[in-house]
Amino acid sequence: MLQVYGTPLQSRLLLGTARYPSPAVLTEAVRAARAEVVTVALRRESGGERAGQGFWSIIRELGVRVLPNTAGCHSVKEAVTTAHMAREVFGTPWIKLEVIGEDDTLQPDVFGLTEAARLLCAEGFEVFPYTTEDLVVAERLLAAGCRVLMPWGAPIGSGRGLNNLFGLTALRAHFPDVPLIIDAGIGVPSHAARALELGFDAVLINTAVAQARDPARMAAAFAQAVEAGRAARLAGPIEPRDLAAPSTPVIGTAFRG
């Protein structure tokens, strides 16, 4: 079973909670995905409206584990402060660490990321860094104390799947024992199945489910794809080859000779 920071997870589908048409649809989608972990964030709360309080009660009723993020942080300082605030509110040492470096691609600032990861790991946080497929950055994050990595598939919300197959495959091969969760860019269930077939341990999906015409149905489709991909990985896929290899035995073929 997959273990992240000592916590066993049966479901390899982590779900984001943003961009759903309504709280009720979010609830349906989490259930349909059979997700055990959902990501959450912190935002400014108005004393009058208190929008966050209702959301938080919905999440608590779902009985799932939360993975707070530092989305929107562009500096080490912002990310570290947000992590402290998240730990207090959500009561978990888990933090999905995002330090955004560039607004068009929402690409991680890997320099700030490694620095923030070092600071937070030293304080006892269990850091899930949102990173690229870069091997050297991955090494630095592990040296900083991270025991899980979350490489991107493609830019957040882009739905393009696994953009750099070569780089991601190399990452998987280079760190066979580190839990690797593909975070961001997955568009359709086949992308998720592919990630699991390649040996990635789990996927985190948000936009692809939340913005689907029927989010709960899409969540269920992702759950099936993740299970299929994992089963295929365990079953040992064949190696691709360039030329045909007959699947029907050729010995004893009629009308020959």
Binding site: G16, T17, A18, R19, Y20, L26, T39, V40, A41, L42, R43, R44, E45, S46, G47, G48, R50, A51, G52, Q53, F55, W56, I59, P68, N69, A71, K77, E78, T81, H84, M85, A86, E88, V89, F90, I156, G157, A184, L204, N206, T207
Partner: protein, 65 residues
Amino acid sequence: MRILVNGAWRETVAAELSTVLDELGYGEAVVTTAVNGEFVAAGVRPRTRLADGDRVEVLAPMQGG
């Protein structure tokens, strides 16, 4: 004095962060706070004195990816 709360200027006579939160209607809401970019834990709010021009962030759980 004037303090900046979640990006909006507010007039307050209260000095302590916990009192300012009460004034602004947060009551028992689940929130977490920072002053001038530094996290202020819930237990420390009653003895966190604010000064004119301080920047206060009051955050709560929200949807996230």
